[in-house]
Each structure stands twice: as structure tokens, then as C-alpha cells.
Symmetry: none
Subunit: 226 residues, 2 copies
DNA sequence: TCATTTATTAACAATTACTTAATCTTAATG
DNA sequence: CATTAAGATTAAGTAATTGTTAATAAATGA
């Protein structure tokens, strides 16, 4: 179910890249590499790794600068940057953190410890994205395991699509979901259905759950309000 | 608005506790301390810190054991454990990570680097679920996720174009946006509409948000003022 | 299989938003 | 202080989006 974590290794020394690649691949990660900052940025955008292992001193563009640029790429907000460097001066470390580093490890790297750190980071990332299967709000409980809604102590059963739609909207009460987002999350990106399909489902929900719970934001989408 | 991050310092050496407490307090964190693993568990449950700085070797209960126990406490799932230790053997570090550590720093600790690491962790914790799409000014909040304006505690819904226009202007209060800039950002470069369209939208905003908020710079454009 | 429920579509109605055009006001300039 | 150019205002027309209903298709379950 869970995707294989992706790691981008960036170092101008091919030997180090190879050692890291070997160890990380063996541990079950998907690894790609780059040999300088510029290449790092380019590959990171395409590869969207969970973790980037970044050397400091490299030709073309150093690690610190690359890290700063990485922070500005929206699709990489969840990517962690770990510096691996032989440079051990305090000011280098400090500027690495200023540039957005998540960690700074001095070379020589001990593979076992690096792997443990990576495991620990991946664990944290996954823990965050683990979605709750029960939404409890003031007067409504939405239980995805039972496909059951309890509103004011009354049980309501909904058909699948209606349930998914409600579940999505209620997952962030007050926040607008665009029609595109709804389409993608409830129907999936492959399935294409007509424009009015969402409206009709919203209408059914309004009938069953209450008109006032669903606010239309014209030109944008819908939101669930308590 | 955001809560002050809480840190629990755990070490049996009162001097180290004091140094850390001093530095962390100065940096604006709320600090509590414990002097062994048992006390750590007890205080962590009550204090619910974001971060625990944990020594390895302590009387009563060592850091590794404490860390293992901390992992089992549901209210502390989001608490990060950073080991600070004079013991530098690889196997100690490995067992720390196995016990659920998020990081392992060797003593002597460099306060500046520790602070940077903590900042970086806190940033990550706060970054979750946050999409920086909210503009908060003195008496107006513009929330793009909710497509909602809150002015003096009153909710105001705006149509899409008006919302986008306000959002743009308020993104840099006091700065003038030219008609061209507004056109490009709100309408897009392909769409061509007449000159008076912006005026009309500004007028609607003046009606709804307040006349004084929008200053016309003749021959240039508009700016949002607080 | 058949009955029933659920999902989707199509047609049209209703609503809301956007733009324009015509007119009025204001501010700057010589 | 008259002129002019830019902006403000208003109402009305146009466009776009959403709501509703009913019919049909697809899925589900006995």
C-alpha cells in the first residue's frame, strides 16, 4: 500500500554516491543521484524524493544554495534535506540550517546510523499523513469503518459516493474544496463524469444531512460548515 | 497566535540542565526539566512538550528506556526526542534510534547548532496542515482556504473576482498595484476586459470591506491600506 | 434473474457574477 | 478657473455557474 520512499543523493564524488546508493538501495529505498546543486534542483523537481542527501561543497552550485532554492519549490515542501559534509565548521552548519536543512551529518558517514536516521524521518513523514478514519465534530460523527453517519444521535447510512463526498468535505470543516479536488478525491483522476454529478450528490447530502451544512462558493467549490 | 513551543530537558547533571534552560528560554521556548527517566515520563505526560532533550546515562531509568516508554504514550505521538549524550559509541546511537529517537547529538553540545536544529524541527511540526494562504492584518483576516474574509469578527463572503482582487491587494498592504498587474494576476494575461471592470470591482469591495481600505493612486493603480 | 438502490446524465430553471456603457465626479494642470 | 484625463457610479445586459428534476444506466443484492 505504502509507496517505496525515494531518496536523492547529491555529491560530486562518485565513490560516495555509489556507497550511499548501495546502502540505501539495499535498505529498500528508491535512489537517484546528482553531482551538483543545479542537477539536484532539476532532478528533485521530477523525482519528488522524500529525502535529499546533500553535500556542501560541489562545483556549479553548492549545497547551501541548492537547499535555499529547494525551499522555494512548492512541490517539495515535504522533502527533507540532510546535509552530509566533511566541512565541520560551526558557521557552515549554521548556514545549512538557515538554508532550510533538516539535519547536518559530518563525514565520514556511518551508514548504519544514517539509515536509522532516515528510517526515523520516514516514520515521522508517514505518521503525519496517516488519516483518521473517524471524524468527530460537534453534532456529527462520520465513521468510515462502518460507513455510518451519526447526526444528533440519529444513524444515517449513505451510499458510497455520497459518503465519500461528505467524508472529504468534513475532513476539513470550513475549508473549500474545489470541484477539481472533489472530482479527484472522490471519483479519481481517471474517471470522467459530467459537470452536474457533483451538484446532484451535494443536493442529496443537503436533503439527508441538512441544507445549512453545505455552503456553495460559486466559481470555487463547496465547503462543509458545522 | 501560535503557542510557545515547549521543551523538556532531561539530564542528571544540574549544570547542563541550567545551561540548556538558559539558552532555550532566551530563544523563547517554555522549558521544564527532569533529572532521570522516570521523572521524564511523569513530566512529559503533564507538560506535553514538542521536544524532549534526553540524556542517555541517568540514574533510576536511562534515556533509552525512557524513550521507549515515551513512544507508547498516545498523547506524545507528536513529541520529538533528541538525545544529548557523551556516549558516542555507534551501538548506543543505534539503540537510541531503535528506541524511537528523532536525533542524536554528541556532547559537548554547541548551543547555536542545537537551537537551529530545534527551530528546524518546530518549523516542520508547524508546517503540517498549513498552506500559508491566510493573510492576517490588524482587523481583517483573509483566508483563501475558506474563501472567507473576517473583518472585525464579522464573516464576509465575496464573489471570486472580488476575493482575488482583495487577496492580491492585501498581500502587500500599502503597496500600489498597477492596473496591468491587477489585470494579469486576477484576470490572467489572455482574458481581455474593459478598463472600467477593475473600477467596478474596487467599488464593490469598498462597499463591502470599507471605503477607506482602498486608496486610488491616479494614473497608477490601487493599494490596500489598513 | 429480477428488484432495488445508487450513479450519472440531460434539459432546463434559477441564481449569481461579470462586464459594459453611459453618465457623473474628481483631481491635476496650465 | 476652465480644461482634460482619469476614476467613480449606476443600472442594465450578458455570461457563467449552480440547482433541480426526471429519465436512464449501472451496480448491488436477494
Amino acid at each position: 500500500m505504502r509507496k517505496i520512499p525515494k531518496i536523492l543523493v547529491v555529491d560530486d564524488d562518485p565513490d560516495i554516491v555509489e556507497i550511499l546508493r548501495y546502502n540505501l538501495s539495499l535498505a529498500g529505498y528508491e535512489v537517484k543521484s546528482a553531482s551538483n546543486g543545479k542537477e539536484c534542483i532539476k532532478k528533485a523537481k521530477l523525482f519528488l524524493p522524500q529525502i535529499i542527501l546533500l553535500d556542501v561543497m560541489m562545483p556549479e552550485m553548492d549545497g547551501i544554495e541548492a537547499c535555499s532554492l529547494l525551499q522555494k519549490i512548492p512541490s517539495l515542501v515535504n522533502t527533507r534535506v540532510i546535509f552530509l559534509s566533511a566541512r565541520n565548521e560551526e558557521y557552515t552548519q549554521l548556514s545549512a540550517f538557515d538554508a532550510g536543512a533538516d539535519d547536518y551529518i559530518s563525514k565520514p558517514v556511518k551508514p548504519k546510523i544514517l539509515l536509522k536516521k532516515i528510517t526515523s524521518i520516514i516514520k515521522r513523514i508517514n505518521a503525519v499523513n496517516k488519516h483518521e478514519d473517524i471524524i468527530k465534530l460537534d453534532n456529527i460523527i462520520i465513521d468510515r469503518n462502518k460507513f455510518l453517519i451519526i447526526k444528533n444521535d440519529v444513524e444515517i447510512y449513505l451510499p458510497k459516493k455520497e459518503f465519500e463526498l461528505l467524508f472529504l468535505l468534513a475532513s476539513q470543516p470550513g475549508n473549500v474544496f474545489t470541484r477539481d479536488q472533489i472530482m479527484n478525491k472522490v471519483w479519481g483522476s481517471e474517471i470522467i463524469v459530467g459537470d452536474r454529478t457533483i451538484d446532484v450528490h451535494i443536493r442529496k447530502l443537503r436533503e439527508k444531512i441538512g441544507d445549512l451544512c453545505f455552503k456553495t462558493i460559486k466559481g470555487v467549490g463547496y465547503k462543509f460548515i458545522q
